[in-house]
């Protein structure tokens, strides 16, 4: 483990930025946002950035390829370019976990080369939480806010910042910081972790359990009567899916440029009326089916396909942002209640 003084963090950022792009969460008038680091930029202490860091690997929109039409000739242009190396510094434990969930979708065969390109060029530096809030429930999904994963894990105490490399990429990054950091024991980190874990136990959602959900529970929950009341006032907007760090559905569309076509993909939402629309129509006729899909996917279908791993990380963004304050916590507590 290595450490540096808190006020040396600027030097750490400057050192990292010498060899790669660096993004850190920084406070804006509208909440914390990841921004490209520039000299003097301060790292936010916010738990959630307004937009999740999935943007780094799965941007809201990206061009896939281009077709240029010239008479009877159609030229197909690969719009991909090799990504530059980049570092994302200050990712919380919940959001780091979301990358694993996305990886299992995009990196399985056939591998999504657009996504893989970005993942390969990234180094993730996580930061441990010390002040979780009422909307946090990462522990429900076995995530330890005090021990975040990532290529490098980092802990900020009042006066110092501790670093631990978890991967070869992380070791390479810490090697660059050798001039700024010194060797450290883990005494202060362990003390901070114990304190945070005690706070986690007292959070309002500390008792929330996902035990009744998981792989193979489709039959049990699909026809639960509670879906009606839960989805009753859902507006059918895409807020929950777009602020979610693990929602990964997209649409592929063609944009007519007048002399060709740009084929792009963009985030899509299972909450939308044209999601899953096909030649015969839409099998999900009402908002209830669309609403159910989102939560069944997080709590049952994804675990069924991914060794029991849930595809919610308990970051709490949907709790804060849903226009009608309906969310996965309320769903988990309500569904199956009448059984």
């Amino acid at each position: 483990m290595r450490k540096c003084k808190t006020d040396a963090l600027d030097a750490v950022f400057a050192e990292i930025a010498k060899s790669s792009l660096l993004y850190i969460p920084t406070d804006t008038e509208k909440g914390a946002e990841y921004k490209k680091w520039s000299d003097g930029m301060k790292m936010s202490n916010a738990l959630n950035t307004v937009r999740s860091p999935k943007d780094f690997f799965f941007p809201q929109t990206e061009d896939l390829m281009e077709f240029k039409v010239n008479g009877k000739e159609i030229e197909v242009i690969d719009t991909r370019s090799e990504k530059e190396d980049f570092v994302v510094f200050g990712v919380r434990a919940c959001d780091v976990k979301s990358f694993e969930i996305l990886d299992r979708v995009f990196l399985i065969d056939p591998c999504d080369s657009y996504y893989a390109n970005r993942r390969e060029h990234s180094t993730i530096v996580s930061v441990a939480c010390t002040r979780p809030v009422e909307t946090c429930f990462c522990q429900t999904f076995g995530i330890d806010a005090a021990a975040p994963e990532g290529d490098v894990s980092c802990w900020k105490t009042d006066s110092e910042v501790y670093f631990k490399a978890n991967t070869p990429k992380g070791e390479a990054l810490l090697a660059k910081l050798e001039g700024i950091t010194v060797d450290a024991d883990d005494k202060d980190v362990t003390a901070q972790q114990e304190k945070t874990r005690e706070i986690m136990k007292k959070l309002p959602l500390a008792e929330l359990s996902a035990d009744k959900f998981g792989a193979g529970k489709t039959e049990e929950f699909f026809n639960a009567p509670e879906w009606d009341e839960l989805s009753e006032s859902c507006l059918g907007c895409g807020t929950c899916t777009f602020v979610c760090p693990t929602c990964q559905c997209y649409d592929i569309k063609d944009y007519n440029t007048g002399h060709g076509v740009i084929r792009f993909r963009c985030w899509d939402s299972c909450m939308y009326s044209d999601f899953t629309k096909m030649a015969h129509g839409n099998p999900r006729l009402t908002q209830k089916e669309r609403f159910r899909q989102r939560f069944m996917h997080k709590l049952v279908y994804y675990p069924s396909n991914n060794d029991g791993l849930f595809s919610c990380v308990g970051c709490g963004r949907c709790l804060a942002k849903c226009p009608i304050s309906m969310n996965i916590v309320k769903v988990m507590k309500t569904i199956g209640k009448s059984e």
Binding site: Q60, R131, V133, S233, L235, G236, F264, D274, M326, N327
Partner: protein, 332 residues
């Protein structure tokens, strides 16, 4: 703090359910915390007693839900209308969007709603409970104990510049009806008008570039009630869900603002729900202000069936060229 209590509304609703006047009640349902109420349909007195809440966080406007709710079943549905909700209610009736006969409306006074984001900004994170006590709010926090703040300091922006305390539609009114307020709601618009074209463009560029096209503003908007929105129609050619170029988001919001011009009651739901904190209501307010200045004071939803200026040609209407001149003069 609200002058009418949850208890009073529950009592009223239970009576109406019991005597058969209504079969369902639209209301705010208790959440996990004090501030996350969800619009819900209640069907019994027990359900109401258990979960119905009217508080400083009952911001959701139910008028639009009446379209779906009145089609769902026979019998009347009870809806509680805060003054600003009642304007949306009237506007929807003007547009024949639901059957008035299937609704029993109770007008309720509103002291203004709180903005939980403002509370978080004021007292910090980790809110365990929020208790309203007159003009003070006590916030129980995870880290800093109890914190007391003035209710006015955490009032929602739309309530600070509340346009009316008057319920304009109801079958029954609880408490005394308020008055239309000469509010300062156009001050922010005036600030934008005073900017140069470039400054104003930069302002909206900055705001709208954060849009994630979740459509929450449209989906919550009581003026957006098309059966199929043009942006959801694959045949329209404009239904792209994402930014194909940087102008796309501006197009979406500007087109929407034009579409609801003259019909928007300024309820402020669009800005309340925006996950990106974009002040969308300012676009609509600009239209309202212009309509007031060009055609005389007009408030959408103030009465049922009124001919709105934009759909009611008169010989006195301002000539387009004069409107342009006025715009140029404002900018000069």
């Amino acid at each position: 703090m609200q002058k009418v209590t949850s208890e009073l509304l529950v009592k009223k609703a239970s009576e109406l359910l019991e005597n058969g006047t209504v079969t369902r009640v639209l209301g705010w349902k208790k959440g996990e915390f004090s501030y996350d109420l969800t619009p819900a349909v209640f069907e019994s007195g027990e359900e109401l007693i258990k979960d119905f809440v009217f508080s400083d966080f009952s911001g959701a406007n139910f008028s639009k839900y009446l379209i779906k709710e009145t089609k769902k079943a026979d019998g009347k549905v009870l809806v509680f209308l805060k003054p600003c909700d009642s304007y949306s209610f009237n506007q929807l009736l003007t547009e024949h969007r639901f059957d008035r006969e299937k609704v029993y409306a109770i007008g309720i006074p509103c002291e203004g709603m709180a903005d939980v984001d403002k509370i978080k900004k004021n007292v910090g994170d980790g809110i365990i409970d929020i208790i309203s006590d007159g003009d003070r709010i006590v916030v129980k926090t995870l880290y800093d104990g109890d914190k007391e703040i003035a209710a006015d300091d955490v009032k929602a922006e739309r309530c600070i510049v509340c346009k009316s305390k008057k319920c304009v539609a109801y079958d029954e009114l609880l408490g005394d009806n308020g008055e239309v307020i000469d509010s300062e709601r156009f001050d922010e618009v005036e600030k934008l008008e005073k900017m140069t074209d470039d400054e104003r463009f930069a302002f909206w560029q900055n705001e709208l570039s954060r849009c994630i096209r979740c459509n929450a503003c449209r989906d919550v908007c009581p003026a957006c009630t098309c059966e199929k929105c043009v942006f959801d129609n694959p045949k329209s050619g404009v239904e792209n869900k994402a930014i194909s170029d940087s102008f796309e988001e501006k197009m979406f919001h500007i087109i929407r603002a034009f579409h609801v011009a003259g019909r928007c009651t300024d309820c402020g739901e669009c800005s309340r729900v925006c996950p990106q904190g974009i002040p969308l209501h300012l676009l609509n307010r600009k239209f309202i202000k212009d309509i007031n200045e060009f055609y005389g004071e007009y408030q959408a939803g103030a009465e049922i069936g009124s001919r709105a200026p934009l759909v009611n040609y008169t010989l006195d209407d301002i000539e387009p060229v004069d409107a342009v001149k006025k715009g140029e003069a404002d900018n000069a």
